[in-house]
């Protein structure tokens, strides 16, 4: 069967008696959300749902009063208690192809079970329920289960007991320490850490381990990558030119620090969305808004449409916030009312309005020691600059004023004047290009009345004008030698030790009016809207002004009665630790998303999160200390209650842990760590590890100049993300695109991954590193060395069969390399201690085998 219009995952669980299974089979009462809504959402809402424009026959099934209303033709689509009299039942059961609903050409026909479900629901009174995720979670007490103390386990075991399935035993301790270490820090445990844990017989040994890992500075690195996927972080502009953003890393650094400090998630949210609006905002708070700077920038010239580029950025910010905090597919509502969720186009543009008035602006964010060197030199610069400009000042100010006026005129009259059109295009594409500055910052300064411009803004605009303003008066520019002046100022500026900068957002003094874009086209403005939140969610309270601000929005997202933020977030944390969320569609908690497998557990976690001070570390601690987390991940797909049916192949019931392939960065970090090559420095600018020359040449405008020395061995988190041509090993291992929020990475399994791990010089180097340290750290005893290598790679000891097979490899390969001394010399130029040249080479190939194992690139 080819991939068809896919069905919600709840269908897969049908027959298991899980949430979402047809009640007609289970014999329960019919519940709207569980039984009816999935049918409506999948089969009916496209034409009879919330979207006004797409609605057919003026029938709306998502609201009870509409669905029950008398039809113009007489009769009722739904008549509670009277399925037989309900027009809906007559149409879905009709044998006439012109009558039957959904229409045959839609390919959306209902099954007999689904029709029966609707019949029973109408007969029982056709009660509606609000969608579960739009109702705030109630505090739920974990059920009492004999022998289970941990709340998470009590929820999970209650469900398993219903199905008559026993949970899996606890994973072996070696598996456990590797699992929890990789999950919390993204790095494998060291040999010493493994041995210490295996020997630690204290009852709380595991809890101590978790304490240590949560306090590790590598915790922030691992979980920063989780957050950066959502923020869709990148180190370049994207789009064709793809210029570097050399200061982007400051936001990454902020995330690592915030996570290591366990900055409460409410503050974490507020600073990223509105740190610039906090009273007396610090540099750190302002650069947190770098979250909103991860949109791509179109800096191409040639028919550039700057407003289109700006609108795409605002749309992206809106959709990102919708995806990251609300877990909703807001972007559908950019062009039309949402087909399935109660999010109207107006809702979308009300949310958009919060970001429409926010503009990109880089700020000075000096690193320690910079300010002291900068300040005195800067004073000298300012004095010299004033002297240089003084003779021409009046004339320059006049010309610049005219230039600014013509720029604004050109923006309002595109295409009216060719030369000015090009000059304007240059302003909005080249401003701060290659430095990651906001591309519309120059235009924003022009729009700021001169009296309100900061000294820095004035200087930056004047610099730009002197360099690029020739169009206003070509003759005068030549006569006054303004190009020379501009160059002189540049030379002068280079003498000032610079202050590091960071990407941030600022609020425009006069935000543009937001109007709905008809059919998503900004050139077709519709109704005017003001900032606001979706009507279906709790109301927004403003603290300060009449018009709500980004700060109000951020506070609303983390307000105590918000139904989505906490659920969405704990669900994603769960997904990271178990492979799948309690709501398997972690990117969609709306009506088309999956039903939670454990709704009470989800709500318990969602209420615990704010109760525990919005601490991410505490929520993670709760999860990883559960027996559910500590179970074996070995396969139980043959689980069967009746000896025939395969039960729960997708592990929705959590009767085991999951085996998860490491992330793109995780594959690299693990190999570097096991190979003893890892540079463990936390923080700092992005680096470019070596990759094949044919790749480095690919992005002709931004060639990949590989770093040397220790920078080559930094964690994958720090690898420069060149959006157009990402680091090739990462691309092979499912690095997500960095243009929209990614809530869940793919985990593919391909021949190119095999070639990558087998033949990439970086992984051969790591294998050499592993072989070398094994032979250095252990005396020349084959089985002792083998065991050491195995524990370093996988944290566990080899089985006798595994040890035997590896021993054979070593002996055979040693013999092979004895006949090929040059090859041996290439693989291991300096033989390892007490090891022949041939055996050294054989050890490198053995280490490489270990580092290609399926188990090596998985956490089990």
């Amino acid at each position: 069967m080819p991939p068809r219009a896919t069905f919600p995952s709840l269908c897969i669980l049908a027959g298991l008696g899980l949430a979402g299974s047809p009640a007609s089979l289970a014999g329960d009462e019919i519940r709207f959300n569980r039984d009816v809504l999935p049918i409506f959402a999948e089969h009916c809402y496209t034409c009879h749902g919330p979207d006004k424009a797409g609605r057919k026959a003026n029938l709306q099934l998502d609201r009870r009063e509409e669905a029950l209303a008398e039809r113009k033709s007489g009769g009722h689509a739904i008549l509670p208690g009277e399925a037989g009299e309900s027009l809906l039942m007559q149409r879905i059961g009709s044998g006439d192809p012109d009558e039957v609903m959904p229409p045959p050409e839609s390919g959306q026909q209902l099954t007999a079970d689904q029709i029966e479900t609707l019949r029973r629901w109408i007969d029982a009174g056709a009660d509606y329920e609000p969608h579960w995720s739009f109702v705030p979670p109630d505090p739920v007490a974990p059920p009492k289960i004999a022998g289970a103390a941990h709340p998470v386990d009590r929820f999970v075991l209650a469900r398993l007991e219903e199905e008559g399935i026993a949970p899996s035993p606890e994973a072996p301790r070696a598996t456990l320490i590797r699992r929890v270490t990789l999950d919390l820090t993204g790095l494998p445990p060291t040999r010493e850490e493994v041995d210490a844990f295996l020997e630690d017989t204290r009852p709380k040994a595991y809890d101590h381990l978790v304490d240590r890992l949560l306090a590790s500075p590598h915790f922030g690195e691992k979980w920063a990558r989780w957050w950066l996927d959502l923020a869709h972080y990148g180190d370049s502009d994207g789009i064709r030119l793809d210029n570097a953003r050399p200061d982007a890393w400051r936001f990454r650094e902020w995330v690592v620090d915030a996570l290591n400090d366990d900055l409460p998630f409410d503050q974490f949210t507020i600073r990223q969305l509105a740190g610039d609006l906090l009273a007396n905002a610090s540099v750190s708070q302002r650069l947190a808004t770098g979250f909103l700077r991860n949109t791509v920038s179109d800096r191409q010239t040639g028919n550039a449409d700057p407003e289109l580029g700006r609108v795409r950025q605002v749309v992206n910010r809106t959709s990102t916030v919708g995806a990251v905090w609300l877990g909703l597919t807001m972007e559908c509502a950019e062009c039309h009312d949402h087909k399935f969720d109660p999010v109207s186009q107006k809702d979308f543009f009300q949310l958009y309005a919060f970001f429409n008035g926010a503009e990109e602006m880089n700020i000075n964010a000096p690193l320690p020691g910079e300010m002291e060197k900068h300040r005195p030199a800067r004073r000298v610069y300012e004095r010299k600059r004033a002297e240089l400009i003084a003779p021409l000042a009046t004339r320059l100010d006049e010309m610049q004023a005219e230039w600014e006026e013509r720029m604004l005129w050109t923006e309002r009259n595109p295409g009216a004047d060719h030369a000015w059109g090009r000059a304007f295009e240059l302003l909005v594409t080249s401003w701060g290009r290659g430095r990651g500055e906001g591309q519309f910052e120059g235009l924003m300064i022009i729009k700021t009345p001169p009296g309100q411009r900061s000294a820095q803004q004035k200087e930056r605009l004047q610099d730009y004008f002197l360099k690029n303003g020739r169009v206003v008066a070509p003759e005068a520019f030549a006569k006054l030698k303004i190009v020379d002046l501009s160059k002189e100022l540049e030379t002068l500026a280079r003498e000032v030790p610079p202050l590091s900068r960071a990407q941030a957002m600022t609020q425009l003094p006069e935000p543009p009016v937001t109007r709905i874009h008809l059919r998503g086209d900004f050139r077709r403005p519709g109704e005017t809207v003001t900032p606001g939140t979706p009507a279906v969610l709790p109301p927004l309270k403003t603290e300060t002004s009449a018009t709500p601000t980004r700060l109000d929005l951020a506070k609303w997202l983390v307000s105590p009665n918000h139904p989505l933020t906490a659920r969405v977030t704990v669900n994603r944390l769960w997904q990271e630790l178990f492979g799948s969320g309690l709501v398997p569609t972690s990117d969609n908690l709306g009506t088309r998303g999956a039903t939670p497998t454990h709704p009470d557990l989800l709500d318990w976690l969602a209420t615990q999160f704010p109760e525990r001070g919005w601490s991410l570390k505490e929520v993670l601690r709760v999860m990883v200390t559960s027996d559910t987390y500590r179970q074996s991940s070995d396969d139980r797909s043959a689980l069967s209650s009746d000896g025939r049916t395969q039960q729960d192949p997708g592990n929705a019931l959590l009767a085991r842990q999951a085996k998860l392939r490491l992330s793109a960065e995780g594959v690299r970090d693990n190999a570097l760590a096991v190979g003893g090559l890892l540079n463990p420095t936390v923080g700092g600018p992005s680096v470019r590890p070596p990759q094949p020359e044919s790749v480095t040449r690919e992005n002709t405008r931004n060639p990949w100049k590989a770093d040397e020395g220790e920078a080559r061995y930094r964690r994958g988190l720090y690898t420069f993300i060149q959006r157009l041509t990402p680091f090739v090993q990462f691309a092979n291992f499912d690095l997500p695109g960095s243009t929209t929020a990614c809530s869940r990475r793919e985990r593919s399994n391909t021949p190119l991954q095999a070639l990558n791990l087998l033949n990439d010089p970086a992984f051969v180097e790591a294998a050499h590193g592993l072989a070398s340290r094994v032979c250095r750290e252990v005396e020349a005893d084959e089985s002792a060395r083998l065991e050491h290598a195995f524990v370093l790679a996988l944290a566990r000891r080899p089985s006798p069969e595994e040890a035997e097979r590896l021993g054979r490899h070593l002996r055979e390969q040693t013999a092979l390399f004895e006949t090929a001394p040059e090859a041996a010399d290439t693989l291991a130029p300096d033989p390892f201690p007490d090891t022949s040249a041939a055996a050294s080479a054989a050890w490198v190939t053995l280490a490489s085998v270990l580092m290609n194992l399926h188990e090596f690139i998985h956490r089990e």
Partner: protein, 469 residues
């Protein structure tokens, strides 16, 4: 040993579930409702007209007015401002520039081709020329993304990814989607042939320079053939032991991926070695001439790849972005590509492969009927060195084989080639048609991602019935 046999053997020692899961995976769905990411071939939605696709993407925007869409009426407007009301104010351009090229009717069908395409024109009766393509953006990146990925935004799967996702790959030793580059200015290609949110299994694999054709294809220095096989044998045995102790079925796929990698190492160099092709074939593709060698090599490789079972081959040639010196640059690009592209179609036909192979020649948009005579601020272009600007509202492409009509012209533009006046074909329509030809229904080929179902054709697209043979 076929792949199925191979898998059966792999699975034999493990018990039936592994095999059943693997072979059945095309029809099963994973927890997020998507089909499992198997490399195996899958059956189409309906009987296909084409099994393979060769997509010759002429990046930069070739001028339809000088190649495929003759406009003799423009002569009388040459050098004059464009007619009132025709020009969109967002497009900045100067006065009308009639094409200096000569168009002639070719073949029995009498389809007109520019004198810059003598070889392509000779195949007039095999080609279907669409003169009414239109797109949504006049900027390279969004337009190239739309043409290759069905959306102006980054991060979406390309046409080749979708086709492989829908049909799987019958090739036993090569990936199902191969990309070949020629010309200058090659950035952005990886995004245009990307897997987007589909598993990386479906990513276009770039075959690069002769010495490093596929990344990491060559054994590392010091590892010979025997040592490589030994690594793989030990690896397979250890993976199997772990499979037995854990029951983790994903290990079966991992073993298969490594074996396919090994087969690729052996097969790819042979496949890419053109020395076995006859002198006549090599000359036909222009391998014996400097100008045609790069694109000709890629065209010949495309045929060999398709022969070996590769589902989708994409060639990029750039750049056709002729803002200035249009005529000189077009001559140069046509010199490089006309003969090889025609040789490809002819060769496929002679070998009986054209019926099963759809060939598409297209760029992301066309070019303006007005000359671009001010490239930079205040610096007029020298007479005779004018170019044309980007033009999204109407442009031309050609297709051949795989179920499309030969000797056929579809659609018509106005006297300036500015707007479509008959049978407009949007990119979404073209995509719907290409998918239709390979046996896929564009509304049913979906993938659930970010909480919703995505399609190549977004919410649009109609199959262009008029070009179906």
């Amino acid at each position: 040993m076929s792949r199925r046999e191979f898998l059966a053997r792999q699975a034999g020692g493990i018990g039936g579930i592994a095999l059943a899961q693997l072979l059945g995976s095309a029809g099963t769905a994973s927890a997020d409702g998507n089909p499992a990411s198997s490399l195996l071939s899958r059956s189409p939605h309906h009987p296909p007209r084409a099994k393979n696709v060769i997509f010759l993407f002429m990046a930069g925007g070739p001028s339809h007015l000088d190649l495929l869409d003759p406009k003799p009426q423009m002569r009388q407007w040459d050098g004059k401002p464009a007619p009132e009301g025709m020009v969109d104010p967002t497009i900045m351009a100067g006065s009308v520039m009639a094409s200096p090229r000569v168009f002639t009717r070719r073949g029995r069908s009498g389809v007109e081709f520019s004198d810059l395409l003598p070889h392509t024109g000779a195949l007039a009766d095999d080609l279907c020329v669409i003169r009414s393509l239109h797109t949504d953006s006049g900027n390279h990146d969004p337009a190239q993304l739309l043409f290759n990925c069905g959306t102006q935004l980054f991060g979406h799967p390309s046409l080749g990814s979708w086709v492989n996702y829908g049909l799987g790959s019958p090739s036993e030793d090569m990936p199902g989607y191969v990309v070949l580059n020629s010309g200058k200015d090659v950035e952005a290609r990886s995004a245009l042939a990307g897997n987007g949110f589909l598993p990386s299994t479906y990513r276009g694999v770039t075959v690069r320079t002769a010495d490093d054709p596929i990344l990491f294809l060559k054994n590392p220095p010091g590892i010979g053939e025997a040592a490589q096989r030994a690594r793989l044998d030990t690896l397979r045995d250890l993976n199997r032991l772990h499979l037995e102790s854990t029951g983790d079925q994903e290990i079966v796929s991992r073993i298969e991926a490594y074996e396919m990698a090994f087969r690729m190492q052996a097969a790819a160099p042979d496949l890419l070695d053109l020395s076995g092709e006859s002198a006549a074939t090599r000359a036909g593709y222009g391998l014996d001439q400097e100008d045609t060698r790069a694109f000709g090599t890629n065209c010949l490789l495309a045929r060999r790849l398709v022969e070996s079972g590769v589902r989708f081959v994409q060639l990029f040639h750039s750049t056709w972005d002729d803002h200035k010196k249009l005529d000189q640059n077009l001559k140069r690009n046509c010199l490089m590509t006309d003969q090889p592209a025609a040789a490809l179609v002819r060769d496929l036909k002679q070998r009986g492969l054209l019926d099963d192979t759809l060939v598409i020649w297209a760029g992301e948009f066309g070019r303006t009927p007005m000359a671009e005579d001010h490239f930079d601020v205040g610096r007029p272009v020298k007479p005779g060195e004018e170019g044309r600007d980007h033009h999204p509202f109407a442009f031309s492409i050609w297709m051949a084989g795989g179920g499309v009509k030969g000797g056929h012209v579809h659609g018509r533009t106005d006297d300036f080639g500015y707007h479509v006046v008959e049978d407009g074909v949007h990119i979404h329509d073209l995509h719907a048609t290409i998918l239709h030809l390979v046996g896929l229904h564009h509304e049913q080929l979906t993938h659930r991602h970010a909480g919703r179902d995505f399609r190549l054709t977004d919410v649009a697209g109609r199959v262009v019935r008029g070009i179906l043979a």
